[in-house]
């Protein structure tokens, strides 16, 4: 057995020993999801409750899910040591599940919810969309459905050119919408927000702090924009201003990096909370 395999087996044995120890020391059920049937409330059939609640039942489906989720979490973290079959298995599962999930969402939310609901409103009301308002069939919806079908021409030898038509619709719509959205939402509004008074008065009194902030803000934006302006060589005065722009951008990237780190660490603590609270029951439960 290679050294890597020995380490792998040791980790698995350590985990199993930990679980056995946890089971031996536990004074209350753990690793199970308990539910309580809800009466007189059609919105939910069961509700997750703590194991101490009288009349609870163990939910086999949710308990299986809990253990699977714990396995997937540990399998993902096993990659921190090195690539291994458990991580690869999890990776393969998430690829398939994600594709299936987005396919399902697209089908029910858009193909049924928008296309078929417009094309065959009465049939959809009687089948899957009972809350749909009565309307006449809109046969123009056949246009995007036909264009969508043309996408599959890509799979036919010699028919790839037909797939350009739906692609043209997607690219044209995106280009048109984004052009105005970005110019209006980002370009114009950011310039408008940067046009600030450089001398600020508060209650007829000169506000040094506000003035300094505004001057610093406007100057910083101009320095950054100078750095992004490549039609002039960055030498002399332009070079010095653009260098200040680099400093402002470095500060921006530093704060973005800090936020990224904080976000990832929050996710990490949430996963650890899942393992130690929801799965192992080492922390007080937070279910009602």
């Amino acid at each position: 057995m290679s050294r890597e395999s020995q380490i792998g087996v040791a980790i698995v044995l350590l985990l199993l020993s930990g679980l056995l120890l946890r089971a031996a020391l536990a004074d209350q059920p753990w690793g199970v999801v308990t539910v309580l049937p809800v009466e007189n409330d059609p919105a939910e059939a069961v509700r997750e409750v703590s194991p101490e609640t009288p009349g609870v039942q163990v939910s086999v489906a949710r308990t299986t899910g809990l253990w699977l989720a714990a396995f997937f979490t540990l399998a993902c973290y096993s990659y921190l040591y090195k690539d291994n079959p458990a991580y690869k298995l999890t990776e393969s599962i998430i690829v398939g599940v994600s594709a299936g999930y987005w396919l399902t969402a697209s089908f029910w939310d858009v193909i049924v919810g928008k296309a078929l609901a417009r094309l065959m409103p009465e049939q959809m009301r009687a089948w899957a969309l009972p809350n749909l308002d009565p309307a006449d069939p809109d046969f123009l919806t056949l246009v995007p459905l036909t264009l969508g079908a043309l996408l599959f021409a890509r799979l036919i030898p010699g028919g790839a050119w037909l797939a350009r038509w739906p692609l043209a619709l997607i690219v044209g719509t995106t280009a048109g919408l984004k052009l105005v959205l970005y110019l209006d939402g980002d370009f114009v509004s950011q310039i408008r927000n940067t046009i600030l008074p450089l001398v600020v008065f508060n209650d007829n009194a000169f506000d040094l702090d506000g003035s300094a902030r505004n001057i610093l803000l406007v100057t910083s934006v101009l320095c950054c924009l100078t750095y992004f302006y490549f039609s002039v060589e960055h030498r002399g005065a332009v070079g010095r201003v653009s260098r200040c722009g680099i400093w402002v951008l470095m500060i921006t990237f530093g704060s973005s990096f800090a936020f990224t780190v904080m976000g990832r660490i929050t996710l990490l603590t949430m996963r650890l909370e899942f393992l130690f609270r929801d799965w192992l029951g080492l922390l007080p439960p937070n279910v009602s």
Partner: protein
Amino acid sequence: MQRIIPMLLTSIVGVIAIASYFVPVAQPFQDRVEEWFLIVAAIAMVLGAASLLLHHLKAISNQEAGWGYSAVTVAALVITTTVGLLKLGAPPDLKHPELAWSGSYLAEGGGAWWIYTYVMSPIVATMFSLLAFYVASAAFRAFRARNFEAMLLLGTALIVLLGRTSDGTWLTSGVPADYPLATIPGLNVLIMSVFNTAGQRAIMIGIALGVAATSLRILLGLDRSYLGGD
């Protein structure tokens, strides 16, 4: 013809989308074009899943290296799609219990809900949380303060990280309240409200100009790369 018609279609729908912002009469056209866009994009998802399936089936058929993982992917895709499309286990809509298909495919207790809650959500969250470790190790390698710019980036990151925790407040708790900029939380506020805002603004202005220029090139037919070769 194979290239002219798609180019014309691109320009027409793009101009309609732009015109709808300025001409109220064109608004219904824009709504319709946007809906068409969503429908075509949804069908493109089906094509994407089909391509994934074909790719992995080919790997299994040829018994390529790691074909077992391809089989797992195919099984996961087929099971999720079947459960989701057939709404297996999903309860019907509360107001219409007589219609078996009327409930949401993601309703609690259903198969798709179970897959999302216990498979997809934990794996995605854990994979993103893995980045916490890699960000830390990457920072260690990249942030060796070799020059002034790197020190600025590292220093800002430290101040912002500390400024968002109680430790940052505690570290500079001895500083008189008259000098807020001498405290870590005060510096954090200055960085976020002035320098970060200025940098983000410049980046957003640059991105907006880039998007506008690229969109114009596409709508005017100057950029045809999206049409592919031949």
